[in-house]
Each structure stands twice: as structure tokens, then as C-alpha cells.
């Protein structure tokens, strides 16, 4: 279960507030209100499909994804979205109150991550039952894994029909608050190898990196 309290705490971080620093009362109140609204408007949907590694080979380009899928013989494509009403809500806020829009953007970004996190955990559990192991998830656009595969992934997943998820010709997922990812499947315990800062396209400008932090998720 996704806990609204966790979403709110993560949204603080996303808005730039350091861990030791709670926002002012007004901002806290605003974030709480926005989180309530988002929780009722979001229509999270997920879909998954298993493939052999060879059938996906044409799409799995780059060093990083190769490393991530070492010891895997099959893999899973996952996709999740919060639905298009969220986009309308943010557009609307952008007109009347930019502060609200920015907070919504942060809350929904955190929420879609949480939805995907939960989905991944469920899937992992199912595979564990069947005696299989899956790696952590890896998304297009991270490291040297090109974002251009986004449209192909959605096609393979039939994501438009299943969860209403599409991509623009420039590979932006629509609805906006959506995630796709690949997990490797193996008969032995695997964790995968997530991209680090050295392969990240934001390396030279990243504020987190300058502060000695990383956004790369810790491996399970």
C-alpha cells in the first residue's frame, strides 16, 4: 500500500527541501491539500509482459543495460501510468497558481515512482514463488540506454490498449506521469546493475552530484 505520508515526505525532497528541513507551515498545508487531490484523481494502471532476451535484443542497446541483464535469460517489460486526468490537473494549476502546479508536479512524480516500486515488488514476489529472480528495474533514458526505445517498448507491451499509455514521436511518455522499465529474469539471485553518475547524461550539471548525492536507486 502506498502511504500518503511517504509520498508527502518524498515530495518535500523533490521540491528541494533538505531532509533536515521541513517546509514552512503554509507550504506543508498546501502540499497536504495537493496530495489529497492527487490521490483521488490519479488512476494508476500497470502492465507487464515477459520476453526472451533474444526477442528483445534489437531494443536493448548500450553497455549499461547489457551489464544490468547479466545472468538473465529472459526479461520483463513493465509500464505504469497515473492517467491523463493528472496532466489536465497540472495544466489547470499552471494557469491559476504556479506554486500549486509545481507542488503537483513533485507529488505526482513521487507517486508514479511509488506505483512502479510497488508493482515491481509484486512482480518480484510472483517470480520468487516460481523460483525465479528478477533484477531491479531499468528505464530507458538512464545511462546509455537510449530513450528512443520508449515507443517500441509500448508497442511490445500493447500499452496503448492495455493502460492508455503512448509516446510522442520524440519519445516522451503520455500521459506524462508514466514509467516504463526492463527487469531481467534469472534462475539465480540477481540484482542488476543500475546506471551510476559516470554514465549519466546530466553528469556535468547535476545539482545532486555537486552536493555529493546520487539519484541512482540503491540495489535490492
Amino acid at each position: 500500500m502506498i502511504q500518503p505520508e511517504m509520498i508527502i515526505q518524498d515530495a518535500y525532497r523533490r521540491l528541494g527541501y533538505p531532509a533536515e528541513n521541513q517546509p514552512d507551515v503554509y507550504t506543508c498545508q498546501k502540499i497536504n491539500e495537493v496530495a489529497d487531490q492527487i490521490m483521488t484523481t490519479a488512476a494508476p494502471r500497470t502492465t507487464q509482459k515477459e520476453f526472451t532476451l533474444t526477442s528483445l535484443e534489437p531494443y536493448l542497446t548500450g553497455r549499461d543495460i547489457e551489464k544490468h541483464l547479466v545472468h538473465c535469460h529472459r526479461c520483463l517489460l513493465l509500464a505504469a501510468t497515473l492517467g491523463s486526468q493528472i496532466d489536465t490537473l497540472i495544466r489547470k494549476a499552471s494557469v491559476s497558481d504556479m506554486n500549486e502546479a509545481v507542488i503537483m508536479d513533485a507529488v505526482t512524480s513521487v507517486l508514479i515512482e511509488a506505483v512502479m516500486e510497488e508493482f515491481e515488488a509484486e512482480v518480484r514476489e510472483e517470480y520468487r514463488h516460481q523460483g525465479h529472480f528478477i533484477t531491479s528495474r531499468y528505464s530507458p533514458g538512464y545511462g546509455d540506454f537510449p530513450i528512443t526505445v520508449q515507443n517500441d517498448f509500448l508497442h511490445l507491451l500493447d500499452a496503448g490498449r492495455k493502460i492508455g499509455l503512448y509516446a510522442t514521436p520524440t519519445h516522451i511518455l503520455t500521459p506524462r506521469k508514466s514509467i516504463t522499465a526492463v527487469c531481467g529474469i534469472s534462475t539465480q539471485p540477481v540484482t542488476g546493475h543500475l546506471a551510476g553518475c559516470d554514465t549519466c547524461t546530466l553528469e556535468s550539471v547535476c545539482q545532486s552530484k555537486k552536493e555529493g548525492k546520487t539519484c541512482a536507486r540503491t540495489l535490492i
Binding site: L15, G16, Y17, P23, D24, Y26, T27, K30, I31, R45, Q48, K49, S55, G83, S84, Q85, D87, T88, I90, R91, K92, S94, V95, S96, D97, M98, N99, A101, V102, I103, D105, E126, I147, T148, H155, L156, G160, R161, I163, G164, Y166, A167, T168, P169, T170, H171, I172, T174, P175, R176, T201, L202, S204, V205
Partner: protein, 785 residues
């Protein structure tokens, strides 16, 4: 059409899945199935024939995924595939009475505003398919598995304008009765019936059991034939396989016999076996013919409004007598329009009137932009308001849902010109009780005009429930004796013609003091005389209170639930009501109301310009500095911006009252580049720049280089801000700068966005790199002062 396509005394059988069958015949997963019609026509024909032999009388061509976008790089044209698939299907039907439906699925990209595919572009994509389908000999067109009403509308328009084939429209719903994009059954039915399709359907997503309540709803409200093609149950989440057998499917379909559906078939997971059982089971079944509920419905894709109680139309998007709106329209400032739309929605408007008529602007293109922009932020149905046929038609075309046209009148030429347009696009229409001779004074004469309008509208095929008569409010100060006539006419029209009524109210008090008092009294009287749709300013609390009270008194608002919601217990939000604080303090703390109060106080001793330069800007600078140093964060920065806006509003109103223009510092264009739809960052920059007094022209997102260059010339700007958030759209940013330079436009360019660096900015020829909104202000100061 019912006689030709569907029959009233039996339920037609449609086919089942094509994709499922192709896969069982060896189509590899991920491969585009429509190419099989060219490469393996025998297999496709065999599948088509299997359905015909199983009893299907309407079969689909293997073209569900076929469109120009998906065929790109395949070596085939849409015509190749459609022609091959239609030939297969026709071959399969040979010697039988089965007919071929040109099957068309979703394009595979989201339309604007959710995505980047334009409505007009979608229309073109569909046009190519339907033209090829008719040419190849398809008997009718089936648009199916649609989730976006707007996309479906593009398809239906393309089919109706470019072919003579009947059109069936089918959408796919979730169990909550909405599609993925939020379209509800009511909106689909109202919009599609309006556009004149020949049948309405539900297909895919769910099995017969889950579709049943949705189909029941559709049968209840639709006056057209309804068909259902359900999946073979719900897919197994792991394997994706469909779970119910042919026998079970057929058993679950039994409930549809008494529903009133005109045709049934199957979707994903169903095979000829399923269809065979349906054929046997539904043979001889006569669908019940029930009287349909005819209701007055207007809608957007998401929200359907049934006019069965007082329905407030917000009047504020109309430049007449509104200086700020006029200025916004002249400057193409869509944000101001959108603010008005959202404010009215929040205040309780249920429909929004949209009038963008100014002699000096291009009203046609403004109507199109306004409709698209308002529909991107508000789910309320719109009332398109113009006297010009070309303006109305352009607006109706791009409108998503079923709107109201405001208005026609009793003048024959107007009726002849506008009614066909309303019919074509399926709009409801307001009829004013005036004609060539003006507004008649007596109620009886106005009634006669109303009668004529109703007669003419029905002659043009409009349904009576889609007519709203406006008996016209006259000014009490000038024509006092006629006020009662309006009320009398309203009552007659409502009772004798059985149409809904609409009335602009506030005109009544023109020229009198304490106008609201007269307005609310007249509104209440009009409501008591049967007014359904008052056109009012929903931000006027007394007006909304009069309506809320009326709803209690006439027992529309049972147990006064809504009234209590509105007025009981809730206290206004606390935002420092007590002692006044300084303007700077209010802005720094981000408090809107105190900022406005402080601005009013400051005006007693200072000039507006002085207030901006010595109080507001320094306060904003201070917040900006804190943000830069990391001692305050983005929400606070923006909250301060909001407070500053509240103060600016006060100054603006003050200057307006004096008849003076506010002093703007200089124009800046901002835009998110072509292909990119990330606009939060751009919008933050816009907000902050506007705070500092710059006139920001926001072109929006996904903006082509040429449009940016054109706007730069047109508005003679000296600074252009470009945003891109993706490595894949940086190319478009580079291209935009190139276009600006080649056109020798003397402006400087600042760029920003997460993937940019100052080095890259320099590399693509930008003059400045803005790492955040604060930096963009520093750049603007440097360039524009």
C-alpha cells in the same frame, strides 16, 4: 438508417478477434498484423471466412492498426494495405449477405493537449484510410477501441466528409464507465449522435459481464442502434491470455437479449467458435424496442451536463465592456482567458460562454485557439458565441464534445445559414426571439418567433431537446413595461413548445444604481417562470446565492444539501486577517491578501511605479537571493510571486480607474521547443519574469522554430527564452536558434532546461544560459533593463 444497417426485429451478429486468430496462425508477437493481408492474403481470407461461416454478418477488415504513421518504413502505403485487406474480406463474404466493415483503431499517439498529435493531423490520417476503404469496396466504416473522444471525432468527420459509407463508432471503457482518457458514456453518446454516426458501440477491455451495465446505460440513453463486442473475459495479469471459453462467453451474453442491442460480436480472445455459439443462441431473438429518454445534454469529453435543473452559464469570456479581456485578445494572451475559465468553473458555472469577437482581431483563428486552450484546462461544456457562421463552424469543428451555439434568431437568412452547421457538428443551439424587425415587445410575438425557430430547426434535423430559446432581457430603466413580457414569453415558450430556455440576466439593470439587487430579483423571477439556463457572472456571489436559494425553495436541492455545503459551517481560509503588514513583508512571506491590502495602503502615499520599483521588486529580489543561496525553496519563491501578483492587480486596477496604462518593461517570448511538451520550467520562468514587470508572450509547448521566429518579428521582442527538457529535443532548440539567426531577427536568446549546460548553450548559439528562473530575471535585466 436503422432499416438499412441494423434491423429492428433481430440482433445482428458481428465477428470476433482478428489479432488472436492471426497469432494462432503463426503471426510472431510484435509484428505488425496488417501486413499479413499483403504477404499472406490466404490466411487473412481464411480467418474472415471462418467468421462468415460461423454466422457473422458484419466482418472487419484486417486493418485495425493500419495508418500512415504505423506503416512508415514498411514499404507499404495505407492504400496497399487497406485494399489488400478489403479484398480478403470481400472474398470471404462472397455469396453471402455478410458485409465488410473497414476496421479502424486508434492512431497510436495521444492528441493535443495530452500529446503532440494535432486534431487536424489526426483527421488527415483517418481521411487517407477511409478514402482507401471506400475505394476498395468496404460496405461501412467501424472506428473502434477508441479511448479519446476527440480522436474519434476526427475519425468520424473524416469518414463523413470524404465517403458515403455508414459509420459505426465504438469506444472501450473501464468498469467505472469511463475510457482511459476519462470520456464517459453520456459524452460519447451525445457527441456521436450529434455528429450523425449510424451506430454506437462498446468493445474490448472487458468481458460480457463487466460490459453489461455499461451497455445497459448506453441502450437507455442512445437513440441510435447499439452494438457490443466484448473480450473473452478479463486477461490473466501474468500471461495476458483471455480466460473464458466460447460456451461461457455465450452464456454471459444471454443477458444482452433483453437489453435492446442491435448487434453483438466478440473482441480480444474470441474466435469463430464463440461467434458460432452466439449465432445459434441469438437466432430468432427480437430485441425489445423501448421508448428512449430524450434529454437535453451538452458535454465535453469528460463531463456531460443534463439540463434538467438550473444550469448556470458563465458569461465572463466576452469582451463586451471588458477592457482587460479586450487587451488580452488583442495580445493573444490566452492565459487571461484561461484564468477566467477556471475562476468561473470554481465559482460554480456549469457551462462557459465563449465569445472572442473583436473587430480588429482574426475571430476565426481566435475562436479555434480559445476552444482548444479552454478545453485543455476545463472540463465544462462550452457555448460558442458569435454572430459569424465561419467563426462558429471553425469552433465547432475543433470542439471536443457537444457544445451549444449562441445563437440563431428568427431571421430566415440566419436560420438558413447557421442551422445546417449546428446539425452537421451536432451542437445544441440557442434561438433568440428577434427577427428582421428587431425584438418584438409583446410576449405573444416573441413566442411566434420562437415557434418559427423550433420549426425551422426541426426541419433541419435538430432535435427539440437541443433547442434553447432566449426570450431576451430588456433594460428595466428604458423599457420597464416590457420586463414582464420577457417573463411571460419565457413561460409560454417553455410550456407550449417544450424546449429549454436560456436568458442573459444582467442587462436588466443597465442604467440603474445597485444593479445586483435588480439582477438577483429578476433572476429569481425568471427562474420561477421556467428559466433553465441563466447566463450570469458566476463570480457574483449574490447571483449564485439567488440560484442556490431558488433550488432550495423549489425543492430541486433536496434537503438543501448543496445549499448547506455552500453556506454552512465553512469559514474562509485563514491568511492573516488582523493587523496590516508591510508590502515587502507580505511578498516575502508569500501572503496574497495582506499583499493586496498593503498595496492599497501604499497607493495613498506613493505612485504605482514607485511602489513597483522601491517595494515590490526589492522584495522579490530578496526572495530570489534566498532561493539562490538555498535558504528558501521553489514553493516559497512561487508563493511570493503569487503575493506580488495580487499587489500588481491592485496597482493595475488603480491605473485603469485613472485611465492610464501600466508601464511594462519590455517583451519577452518564452516557448518549449518543437517535439517537447515539458512546460513546468518554462511556466515558472514566465511567472517570475511577469513579476518583474516584463510582458511575457508565452507561445506554449511543442512550438516549431518558424512560429517562434514569426512571433519574434511580430512582437518585436529583444529576448527569446527557449526551454527543452530532453536530449532528444535539444536538436529542435538548436534549430530554432538557427532559424532566428538566419532570419536576422535582432533578438537575444536565453535557453534553459535540465539537460542543458552553459557549454552546450554556447555551442548551439544561445546568448545566455539560464540555470533557473532567478537567472532568467538577471538576464532579462541585462538585456531589457
Amino acid at each position: 438508417m436503422q432499416e438499412r444497417l441494423f434491423e429492428t426485429n433481430r440482433i445482428l451478429i458481428m465477428d470476433g478477434a482478428m489479432g488472436t486468430m492471426l497469432q494462432s496462425k503463426g503471426l510472431p508477437p510484435g509484428e505488425q498484423p496488417d501486413l499479413y493481408s499483403v504477404t499472406h492474403p490466404d490466411i487473412v481470407t481464411e480467418i474472415n471466412r471462418a467468421y462468415v461461416e460461423a454466422g457473422a454478418e458484419l466482418i472487419c477488415t484486417n486493418t485495425f492498426v493500419t495508418n500512415a504513421k504505423k506503416l512508415e518504413g514498411s514499404g507499404y502505403t495505407v492504400r496497399d494495405i487497406v485494399s489488400a485487406a478489403t479484398t480478403c474480406a470481400k472474398q470471404a463474404c462472397k455469396g453471402t449477405h455478410a458485409r465488410v466493415m473497414l476496421d479502424i483503431g486508434p492512431i497510436g499517439e495521444m492528441l493535443v493537449p495530452g500529446g503532440t498529435l494535432g486534431f487536424e493531423e489526426a483527421y488527415e490520417i483517418f481521411r487517407e484510410i477511409v478514402v482507401a476503404g471506400e475505394e476498395a469496396g468496404a460496405d461501412l466504416i467501424l472506428l473502434e477501441t477508441m479511448t479519446d473522444l476527440y480522436e474519434l471525432k476526427a475519425g468520424v468527420l473524416a469518414a463523413k466528409e470524404n465517403t458515403n459509407l455508414p459509420v459505426l463508432a465504438s469506444m472501450t471503457f473501464e468498469e467505472n464507465g469511463r475510457t482511459f482518457t476519462g470520456c464517459c458514456i453520456e459524452s460519447m453518446v451525445a457527441t456521436m449522435e450529434g455528429l450523425g454516426v449510424d451506430g454506437l458501440g462498446i468493445n474490448c477491455s472487458l468481458g460480457p459481464v463487466e460490459v453489461l451495465p455499461l451497455a445497459r446505460r448506453m441502450c437507455e440513453i442512445a437513440s441510435l442502434p447499439v452494438f457490443v463486442k466484448a473480450n473473452a473475459g478479463l486477461p490473466d495479469p501474468g500471461s495476458g491470455a483471455y480466460t473464458i471459453s466460447a460456451r461461457q462467453f455465450c452464456e454471459e451474453m444471454q443477458a444482452y437479449k433483453s437489453l435492446g442491442v442491435a448487434a453483438i460480436g466478440g473482441c480480444c480472445g474470441t474466435t469463430p467458435d464463440y461467434v458460432r455459439l452466439l449465432t445459434a443462441s441469438f437466432r430468432g431473438v427480437v430485441p425489445p424496442q423501448e421508448e428512449k429518454m430524450r434529454k437535453s445534454v451538452v458535454c465535453s469529453a469528460i463531463k456531460a451536463v443534463t439540463v434538467d435543473r438550473v444550469t448556470v452559464i458563465g458569461e465572463n469570456i466576452n469582451p463586451t465592456g471588458k477592457k482587460r479581456l479586450k487587451e488580452a485578445l488583442r495580445n493573444g494572451d490566452m492565459d487571461y482567458l484561461l484564468e477566467q475559465a477556471i475562476a468561473q468553473e470554481k465559482a460554480g458555472a456549469m457551462v462557459l460562454d465563449v465569445n472572442v469577437g473583436l473587430p480588429e482581431i482574426d475571430e476565426v483563428s481566435m475562436m479555434v485557439s480559445a476552444v482548444k486552450a479552454i478545453q485543455s484546462v476545463s472540463n465544462l461544456p462550452l457555448q460558442l458565441d458569435s454572430t459569424r457562421a465561419d467563426v462558429l463552424e471553425a469552433g465547432l469543428r475543433v470542439y471536443n464534445g457537444k457544445p451549444i451555439v449562441n445563437s440563431v434568431n428568427g431571421e430566415q437568412a440566419v436560420l438558413d445559414q447557421l442551422l445546417p452547421i449546428c446539425k452537421k457538428y451536432g451542437a445544441a443551439v440557442v434561438g433568440l426571439t428577434l427577427d428582421e424587425k428587431g425584438i418584438p415587445t409583446g410576449a405573444e410575438k416573441r413566442f411566434i418567433i420562437a415557434e418559427k425557430i423550433v420549426r425551422e430547426a426541426e426541419k433541419h434535423g435538430l432535435a427539440r431537446e437541443d433547442l434553447y430559446i432566449d426570450c431576451l432581457t430588456l433594460t428595466a430603466s428604458a423599457q420597464q413595461e416590457d420586463v414582464k413580457e420577457t417573463l411571460e414569453a419565457l413561460k409560454m415558450v417553455k410550456e407550449k413548445l417544450g424546449v429549454k430556455t436560456v436568458l442573459g440576466v444582467s442587462n436588466i439593470s443597465f442604467g440603474l444604481p445597485n444593479r445586483e439587487q435588480i439582477n438577483t430579483s429578476f433572476l429569481t423571477l425568471a427562474l420561477a417562470h421556467g428559466l433553465d439556463m441563466p447566463i450570469v457572472n458566476p463570480l457574483s456571489e449574490p447571483m449564485m446565492a439567488a440560484i442556490a436559494s431558488f433550488n432550495v425553495l423549489y425543492n430541486h436541492d433536496r434537503q438543501a444539501t448543496k445549499y448547506l455545503q455552500r453556506y454552512a459551517g465553512t469559514s474562509p481560509p485563514v491568511e492573516n486577517q488582523g493587523n496590516e503588514m508591510s508590502l515587502q513583508e507580505a511578498v516575502i512571506q508569500g501572503l496574497k491578501t495582506p499583499a493586496a491590502i498593503a498595496a492599497k495602503t501604499a497607493l495613498k502615499t506613493m505612485q504605482p511605479e514607485e511602489i513597483v520599483n522601491s517595494l515590490l521588486i526589492p522584495a522579490l529580489d530578496m526572495v530570489g537571493d534566498r532561493f539562490e543561496k538555498g535558504t528558501c525553496y521553489l514553493p516559497q519563491l512561487l508563493q511570493s510571486a503569487n503575493a506580488a501578483v495580487a499587489a500588481f492587480e491592485v496597482l493595475k486596477t488603480h491605473l485603469e480607474a485613472l485611465g492610464q496604462e501600466e508601464v511594462k518593461k519590455g517583451k519577452i517570448i518564452v516557448a518549449t521547443v518543437k517535439g517537447d511538451i515539458h512546460d513546468i520550467g518554462k511556466n515558472i520562468v514566465k511567472t517570475i519574469l511577469a513579476n518583474y514587470g516584463y510582458q511575457v508572450i508565452d507561445l506554449g509547448r511543442d512550438i516549431p522554430p518558424e512560429q517562434i521566429a514569426q512571433a519574434a518579428v511580430e512582437h518585436q521582442v529583444r529576448l527569446v527564452g527557449l526551454s527543452a527538457l530532453m536530449t532528444t529535443t535539444l536538436g529542435a532548440m538548436k534549430e530554432t536558434i538557427k532559424v532566428l539567426r538566419e532570419a536576422e531577427i535582432s533578438c537575444e536568446v536565453m535557453v534553459g532546461g535540465a539537460v542543458l549546460t552553459s557549454e552546450y548553450a554556447a555551442l548551439i548559439g544561445a546568448d545566455y544560459y539560464a540555470k533557473d528562473a532567478k537567472a532568467s530575471v538577471d538576464i532579462a535585466k541585462k538585456v531589457l533593463g
